[in-house]
């Protein structure tokens, strides 16, 4: 392929993968999507999730991606992806156009997370959001004791060149869901090794030990 490798891949360079190389968080997202659904993946990168959803769930998938390299790579793979920006282009989509709108590891890079989430819930009957949990104990340790902005395997950027401008914790995200009128249908936290944390633990436990949060949402009421 003549197209350059994706820079965004770096974001998840250290992400846990199962045998075969698929990221665990993507498998978890795929698990939340019904067979044959119509899906919009916002910030679809090089199309790994869309490809996975196509193979495992037989979905009718579309993608939006900010980076031109990512878009061109997706289109060259035969995926239906357009170059666009989650912050500005979701407004163009009609209501209820999709069964699921997915925002995978992108929320923290949007300018207006609340507006993005509200558009997702307008365009899709469900929204799936996965994001790095800024409340994880390692991050708290780096800020609290180390006194510096945290970097981890999943978040390797220095503060001055990070595309991530709106970090939140799992607790913070639940608050966003509340003010945006989103009903939490399912929530999973992944530990540092990408394995889902045991259920039936209190939210504060997830907020401390979950490295990522994956939420399945729907419009309330």
């Amino acid at each position: 392929m003549m197209l350059s490798r994706l820079k965004t891949d770096l974001t998840m360079a250290g992400a846990a993968r199962v045998a075969g190389g698929t990221r665990v968080d993507l498998l978890l997202v795929a698990d939340m999507v019904a067979q044959g659904a119509k899906v919009l993946d916002v910030g679809c990168g090089d199309g790994e999730l869309l490809r996975l959803l196509g193979e495992r769930r037989g979905i009718d998938g579309r993608g939006i991606e900010l980076s031109r390299e990512g878009v061109n790579e997706c289109v060259a793979k035969g995926l239906a992806v357009i170059q666009g920006d989650a912050d500005t282009d979701l407004a163009d989509y009609p209501n209820d156009a999709f069964d699921y709108v997915i925002l995978s590891q992108t929320l923290q890079a949007t300018r207006h997370p609340r507006i993005v989430l509200e558009h997702m819930l307008r365009i899709g009957r469900h929204a799936v959001v996965s994001f790095p949990n800024f409340g994880h104990w390692k991050i708290r340790l780096q800020v609290g004791l180390g006194g510096h902005m945290p970097t981890t395997d999943n978040l390797p950027y220095a503060w001055w060149d990070t595309p991530n401008i709106h970090f939140c914790t799992i607790k913070d995200f639940r608050e966003l869901c509340r003010v945006s009128g989103a009903k939490i249908e399912r929530a999973v936290a992944l530990n540092a090794w990408g394995a889902p944390l045991r259920l039936n633990v209190p939210w504060w436990f997830w907020n401390l030990f979950g490295e990522q949060g994956v939420f399945l949402l729907s419009r309330s009421g």
Binding site: M2, R62, R68, V75, L79, A80, I82, Q83, D92
Partner: protein
């Protein structure tokens, strides 16, 4: 421009319009008139076309290639007049993104043009003389209607894909709007759902250049044995600038002088860019008809897809089964990326399956005709994906 002297004579120009060389020809008689948007019928009329590759037994692998303003049916083989390679040989051919070893390529000359499909330089059967300005005005939709009649004639219910850039892209959009069930995949490149005021303005300058040439004779130059070469060459020179970009012109020519070390203090072609444009004008008039230039620029000017659908482009594609791949180029200021985004916006609003890629290049509008590896990868990937969905065999690479 004293060097603008050589040109094919009047009879050979008329002959190419009536009996195109190295092309297939279908003639539609009085029983099959072409109903034009102008409110009249064109009958009898003919369509000249080329095909490449082979139609599969299921008749599902046809790709219709629509040519741009000054293109023709000779998309992937030597042009019979200029002896130059086909205009899209970078894209269409064996092993190319539009692969003649897998697909059956059909490229018709559009109605109003001058390479064998009925147009102003064709013989009007009622008078036995070239149509000239008595030829009815043509629209993009008329071109597409004629192409649909060609497909009927070939026994092809639906094409695997329709592809084209610029005016060809307008035809692609019109095809998808008019015949959604006959188009599996659509590839509109560097185009728009409507011609902008700026583009109409450029076309008007070109037309006025043609009509200001005394040899144009009110459009009757074929009958009067003249040829408005200078006017048409100036029109082409002006238009050619709009197909490039400031950066590309600077990269290719800068302020370099043509075969001289100092300015001549005259109006000779001192600069390389002048010499290049003069050459473009000169070679264009060798192969193109001045009246066709008027008719085809007019057809583009009139194109406004929304106007036919209550002012909303999305209505043209509501519920469409066609999958789209829209492509634009960063330095194209004739059909800028914002035009392509508007197409994408409408297709999204209509719930269509659409891909959109903008390619970084300094080559301007003409980039779609040039060596652009990223464009080739995108077209190849899009067609491969569509071929899988259509059940056509995709070769492993």
């Amino acid at each position: 421009m004293a060097e603008l002297t050589t040109a094919r004579d009047v009879t050979s120009r008329s002959r190419e319009a009536d009996e195109p060389s190295d092309s297939l020809l279908v003639k539609f008689g009085a029983d099959k008139p072409l109903k034009l948007d102008a409110g009249v019928e064109l009958s009898p009329f003919q369509v000249a076309y080329k095909t490449y590759g082979a139609l599969n037994p299921e008749r599902t692998n046809a790709i219709l290639v629509c040519h741009a303003l000054t293109g023709d049916q000779h998309v992937a083989s030597e042009h019979p007049v200029t002896k130059k390679p086909g205009w899209w040989e970078t894209m269409v051919g064996p092993g190319k993104p539009i692969d003649t070893e897998r697909y059956f390529i059909i490229c018709p000359n559009v109605v109003g043009a001058c390479m064998g499909t009925t147009g102003p330089s064709s013989t009007n059967p009622k008078t036995g003389k070239p149509w000239g300005l008595e030829h009815p005005v043509i629209t993009i939709r008329d071109m597409v209607r004629a192409q649909a009649m060609l497909l009927d004639h070939l026994g092809i219910d639906s094409v695997f894909a329709v592809a084209g850039g610029s005016m060809g892209g307008m035809q692609v959009l019109q095809w998808a709007a008019s015949y959604p069930d006959r188009v599996f995949a659509a590839l509109p490149i560097a185009c728009s759902t409507r011609h902008s005021a700026q583009n109409i303005a450029f076309h008007e300058v070109g037309r006025q250049a043609v009509m200001a040439d005394p040899e144009w004779r009110g459009g009757r130059y074929l009958v009067e044995d003249t040829n408005p070469r200078r006017g048409l060459a100036v029109a082409r020179m002006g238009a050619h600038i709009t197909y490039l970009s400031d950066a590309a012109l600077h990269r290719k020519f800068g302020r370099k002088l043509q075969d001289r070390s100092n300015p001549t203090f005259s109006f000779d072609a001192d600069f390389e860019v002048e010499s290049y444009l003069r050459h473009q004008g000169r070679s264009f008039v060798e192969r193109f008809d001045a009246n066709s230039y008027l008719y085809l620029t007019r057809a583009m000017d009139y194109f406004d897809l929304a106007a036919d659908y209550g002012g909303v482009v999305a209505n043209a594609f509501r519920g469409t089964p066609t999958r789209f791949c829209v492509v634009s180029f960063t330095s194209d200021w004739l059909f800028p990326t914002s035009d392509s985004r508007a197409i994408v916006h409408a297709l999204n609003a209509a719930g269509a399956r659409v891909s959109f890629a903008e390619i970084v290049t300094d080559k301007g509008h003409d980039a779609f005709l040039l060596e652009e590896p990223e464009l080739f990868a995108i077209v190849r990937g899009f067609l491969d994906g569509a071929a899988r969905a259509r059940g056509l065999a995709v070769e492993k690479r």
